[in-house]
């Protein structure tokens, strides 16, 4: 009856249903092969990022509990690469640092902002004068 009235089929909803992108739905599919294929397809594009697959901590938990080579590779390549990030050529790294995750809500970044992010708010690394 609910189906005839357009009220849905009465089944309990879960993460795999609703008006969402397929990568986000795929996290909740019974088979992990779907999301692994989608992750590999997504990695071919430059703008792929983790937020395309996860919405919340529960989604992240699903990924951590079903780790596979595809998921590990996706974690390593799930960062936005845009023409703005490409324009940042020479960062003023602190001695010993090799990796820094810059979290922000947009993909626009400048050289100056990136320098401040990796040097904790300072325009350049403290050791810069000593080198």
């Amino acid at each position: 009856m609910r189906e005839k009235l357009g009220l849905g089929d009465g089944r309990k909803s879960d993460g795999a249903v609703g008006f969402k992108a397929i990568p986000k739905k795929s996290l909740h599919f019974a088979s992990s092969r779907f999301r692994e294929s989608l992750m590999e397809i997504s990695m071919l594009t430059q703008e792929n990022s983790l937020s395309n697959f996860v919405d919340n901590q529960e989604d992240i938990e699903i990924l951590f509990t079903s780790m596979s080579p595809s998921v590990v590779e996706f974690f390593q390549n799930s960062f936005n690469k845009t023409r703005f990030t490409k324009s940042v050529k020479n960062l003023d790294w602190k001695l010993g640092d090799t990796l820094k995750v810059i979290g922000q809500d947009n993909s626009v970044i400048t050289q100056e902002l990136a320098d401040k992010c990796i040097n904790e708010g300072k325009p350049e690394a403290e050791e810069a004068e000593d080198i």
């Binding site: 294929s37 989608l38 397809i41 071919l44 430059q46 023409r83």
Partner: protein, 129 residues
């Protein structure tokens, strides 16, 4: 749904007089795409054929190939193997700057396009219950 027609006429020389005859069946790209999807459907139990690149990035009434075949892993794996075998060179954007390949940019949009659920038939629901 966008309809895109290509009008093509063939010229025939009939006794020194040119006749232009339209020898083409007008079909929308969407119809062609759906026909190809149908072929994919039919062959799901057989060997998966090559899926046209344009079909991969098409939308069908708000659905994509990924949402239509969300229960068929063979389609996903076929798309993945096809795309992995191909090389996508960078292209220039409107400003002349080096930019990502236009197909890959479209693929990203299609992948991340929100899609609705498939409505299940009443019979399928009864069988599940």
């Amino acid at each position: 749904m966008n309809l895109l027609f290509e009008k093509r006429q063939d010229r025939y020389d009939y006794g020194g007089v040119d006749f232009y005859i339209s020898g083409m069946l007008f079909r929308t790209f969407s119809e062609i795409d759906l026909n190809e999807l149908l072929q994919v459907c039919v062959s799901l139990k057989k060997r998966m054929p090559k899926i046209d690149q344009e079909t991969i990035v098409c939308t069908f009434e708000g659905h994509t190939i990924f949402s239509i075949f969300q229960e068929h892993i063979a389609v996903y794996e076929q798309i993945l193997s096809q795309l992995k075998d191909q090389e996508f060179e960078n292209e220039q954007d409107g400003n002349g700057d080096d930019a990502e390949n236009s197909f890959l940019r479209r693929l990203y949009r299609v992948l991340n396009m929100p899609v609705d659920d498939w409505r299940q038939s009443a019979r399928a629901i009864r069988e599940q219950q």
